[in-house]
């Protein structure tokens, strides 16, 4: 019976290795579309990504910049104290979205405007995305009240 068991073990090894190899290939393929980089406005202005690449733009919603478009969309600027980028969004803003608060927009940048497909919501008014906090701290424009 020992022979049979060794044979099974070999087969098992083959199957698992094959499954893992397939997983690695699929993961590599998935990473091409599935990874979104986080950028601040100044990083985005410095280094323009391809216009079809989904990115996450994070910073503070500039006070006084939120405006309605006649089409029903909304426009505002996301800033990190150094740079600021106009964002366009058609849809329902998250409940806790407001001026002078942190926000993350998911979308594409065409060099002039950021076309957001989603404004990331927060579930908690005290919560600020840690990427935004860190980016603002790096730029030296973080103040505790923002958190």
């Amino acid at each position: 019976m020992m022979g049979l068991r060794r044979k099974r073990r070999l087969q098992l090894l083959t199957v698992s290795t094959a499954a893992l190899a397939v997983a690695a290939i699929l993961a590599g393929y998935g990473f091409q579309d599935g990874i979104e980089y986080f950028k601040t406005p100044s990083q985005l202005m410095e280094n323009k990504p391809k216009s079809d690449k989904l990115i996450r733009l994070g910073g503070i919603v500039e006070p006084g910049s939120v405006a309605r478009m006649p089409s029903g969309g909304v426009e505002f600027r996301i800033s990190d104290g150094i740079g600021s980028i106009p964002v366009r969004f058609e849809g329902i803003l998250p409940d806790l979205f407001s001026e002078d608060r942190g926000a993350i927009a998911r979308g594409r940048y065409n060099g002039k405007e950021f076309d957001a497909i989603e404004i990331l919501a927060k579930h908690d008014e005290n919560y600020m995305p840690k990427e935004v906090v860190r980016a603002l701290k790096d730029q030296g424009v973080f103040r505790p009240g923002l958190e």
Binding site: G34, R68, G72, K122
Partner: protein, 661 residues
């Protein structure tokens, strides 16, 4: 009132008793001192009683709105409905950790109570390890997140619970999730106890499996509730977002699912011993990792609530000690577990091995996707997020293969199966599912294959279960009545398997339909305006205001119909919770068996128009229906007579006694 201090004191006693139970039972089992080992059962009842007292006093503080307790002030308000006063207990970090400990000790007491027939050393070791986990988490609560902290100057009223949590779906979500998460600690303790005692056999698997089944069922329900809540409360129109916090509960679920199936092999055939012990340790490790992910906020989540990295460190230490210890013990001892059974290439055993390989590789993919942001940040200092496209590309294919082989594996015989029998049983099911797939492809007039393929797989799973039932109950020999009589006589485990697998099919149908055929519309509309949504006509009638117990709401009224028959009225709301000072969106949903109509309103603009987002979500409720069927399947298996320890045959009991000494 002294209540809160009593709770705090009970927690201190709990820490002491846990440490004592740990030391006494493990030493007693190691040295074979019967009196010491006997302490474990009564002591585990004491642990449960102490956690109950501690948790009970906190509930009392919330119910009575005792605003001298800091936690109550931060998470409650006197005007809040009673259900949410109670749910507020676990709607925050400190209280939810106390719930964690309560459930842990509930399981400990249950093992002590139900496991009277366990061999004494095994029982003592299981309860000893369980007590050490209880000690670690109690210490964590006492020293790093004490829910009983008092305020010197109590305020007049509280700051209210986060409004998103004031919802029945989310009120019950954490207890169920924890019943699942924490239940995996029992399997972990059994694995560690078996490694300490160097003995794993069919009897061991028979004891482990019910606990795994119970926690798997609760975890299934807990995840389903969370997903249901996200669907109707967040107003995003989706039901799963591959968010780190969601993955945190999904990874232990995948491990537990693998464990359920591999424990069946140990129980029936005494193979895969090593692997099953490994899965027990892995399952609980993933529970701890899940707790760590949610509590530390290390990965940005769309569901993030305020989190604290320093708390993460403590959980990381607990994780390191228990999982590290478990895996180390496994590495040292697992080579002593020798399997006895062998099996043919085409057999139930082989099928379950394939099930386990696919589930665990898929689990690895989810793990990679969830932790990739952390890896990237540590290695390259870059901030990235991993989105749904990654999981769709790398996770879904494994599930498709798994579902394709599932009905086949489920009907194969143990040890050696014949391909002819299998083809005979499943031929009809295959034909039906092909027909459903082709039919839906024709109905949607070609195009994307996602929906038709999804429905094909879903039908294959459901029809496969039906074929299994038909064959197991001996077909229509003696007429339909005889068939039903035989079907009802099938064991709980058989019914459990059939129901759970059919439930999976229902779930897959729901996922396929909403993914392929969801209709979405977003526009700005004025009262009186009408628009088309798929085959439906939506009329925006107007806006109104109303009040709830602790919020005020603006609601829109929409009339939706498809021309013939009555139109339905849908009223989405935007609520403003005054005491918490924050708004929430309540989707308006007309739920149905075949489709939901789902409407959300945004802000009102200066010209009186409103942003309106509306969806038709086909078969979306099948997702939760399927999950409930799966959990029900777990429950059916659980009531199977074989798992009632009292029902063990005399032969097995003798074997067990011999094994224990």
């Amino acid at each position: 009132m002294m209540f809160v201090e009593i709770g705090h004191f009970a927690l201190v006693l709990l820490l002491g008793t846990s440490l004592l139970q740990f030391a006494v039972s493990i030493v007693g089992a190691g040295l074979g001192w019967i009196g010491w080992m006997r302490m474990a059962v009564p002591s585990s009842a004491v642990l449960f009683a102490l956690s109950m007292i501690s948790f009970g006093t906190l509930v009392m503080a919330f119910v009575r709105s005792d605003f001298s307790v800091a936690l109550v002030v931060a998470n409650s308000h006197s005007a809040k409905p009673i259900l949410y006063k109670i749910a507020g207990v676990w709607g925050n970090h400190e209280g939810s950790m106390l719930l964690w400990v309560l459930i842990l000790n509930l399981y400990g007491a249950m093992v002590g109570w139900r496991g009277c027939n366990l061999p004494l050393p095994l029982q003592a070791r299981v309860l000893g390890v369980q007590a050490s986990i209880s000690a670690a988490f109690t210490a964590y609560i006492l020293f790093a997140s004490n829910p009983f902290t008092r305020l010197t100057i109590p305020p007049f009223d509280g700051r209210d619970l986060n409004p998103l949590l004031q919802d029945p779906g989310l009120a019950f979500h954490p207890p169920f999730l924890y019943l699942g998460y924490v239940g995996l600690s029992v399997s972990f303790c059994f694995a560690v106890a078996a490694l300490l005692g160097k003995k794993v056999d069919a009897a061991w698997a028979r004891w482990v499996r019910p606990w795994t089944l119970a926690s798997w069922s609760f975890l299934t329900l807990g995840i389903a509730m969370g997903s249901w809540w996200a669907y109707y409360e967040l107003g995003w129109g989706g039901w799963w977002f591959w968010d780190p916090v969601e993955n945190a509960s999904f990874m232990p679920w995948l491990a537990a699912t693998a464990l359920l199936h591999s424990a069946a092999v140990v129980e029936k055939r005494e193979c895969l011993l090593n692997w099953t012990v490994f899965l027990c340790i892995l399952g609980f490790t993933l529970s701890l990792i899940g707790t760590f992910l949610v509590r530390s906020g290390i990965i940005t989540s769309v569901h993030a609530f305020a989190s604290d990295p320093t708390r993460g460190i403590f959980i990381l230490i607990i994780l390191g000690v228990f999982s590290g210890g478990g895996f180390l013990l496994y590495a040292l001892r697992s080579n002593r577990l020798v399997p006895t059974g062998a099996f043919g290439f085409l057999s139930r055993e082989s099928a379950l091995v394939v099930n386990n390989v696919l589930l665990v590789v898929a689990l690895a993919v989810v793990f990679l996707g969830t932790f990739w942001p952390v890896i990237m940040e540590m290695a390259l200092g870059r901030t990235v997020s991993v989105g749904a496209p990654f999981f769709n590309a790398a996770f879904t294919p494994f599930m498709i293969v798994l579902f394709a082989v599932l009905p086949l594996g489920a009907i194969l015989r143990w040890k050696r199966a014949s391909p002819g029998d299998a083809a005979l049983t499943l031929g009809g099911a295959l034909a039906v599912s092909m027909a459903v797939g082709a039919f839906s492809w024709v109905l949607q007039t070609g195009g994307d294959m996602l929906g038709p393929v999804g429905l094909l797989i879903a039908t294959w799973l459901i029809a496969g279960s039906a074929a299994d039932l038909y064959q197991r109950a001996g077909g229509l020999r003696g007429g339909a009545e005889a068939f039903f009589r035989r079907a009802l006589k099938l064991s709980g485990a058989d019914w459990g398997k059939l129901t759970a697998h059919a439930g999976l099919g229902v779930l897959v149908a729901g996922i396929a339909a909403i993914t392929a055929w969801q209709v979405e519309d977003i526009r700005t509309a004025r009262p009186g305006e009408a628009f088309e949504l798929g085959s439906q006509r939506v009329e925006f009638i107007g806006l109104g205001k109303r009040r709830g117990p602790n919020y005020s709401a603006l609601y829109g009224t929409f009339s939706v119909g498809n021309g013939d028959g009555d139109a339905v009225i849908i009223q989405p709301e935007r609520r403003y919770y005054e005491f918490a000072g924050s708004p929430t969106t309540e989707a308006g949903i007309n739920a149905g068996f075949l489709r939901d109509i789902y409407i959300v309103i945004g802000e009102v603009h200066d010209d009186g128009s409103v942003t309106v987002k509306s969806y038709v979500n086909p078969l979306v409720n099948w997702i939760w229906l399927g999950a409930v069927m799966m959990a029900l399947g777990g429950a059916f298996s659980l009531i199977d007579r074989r798992y009632r320890v009292a029902g063990l045959s005399a032969r097995l009991q003798r074997k067990v006694k011999a094994a224990g000494t």
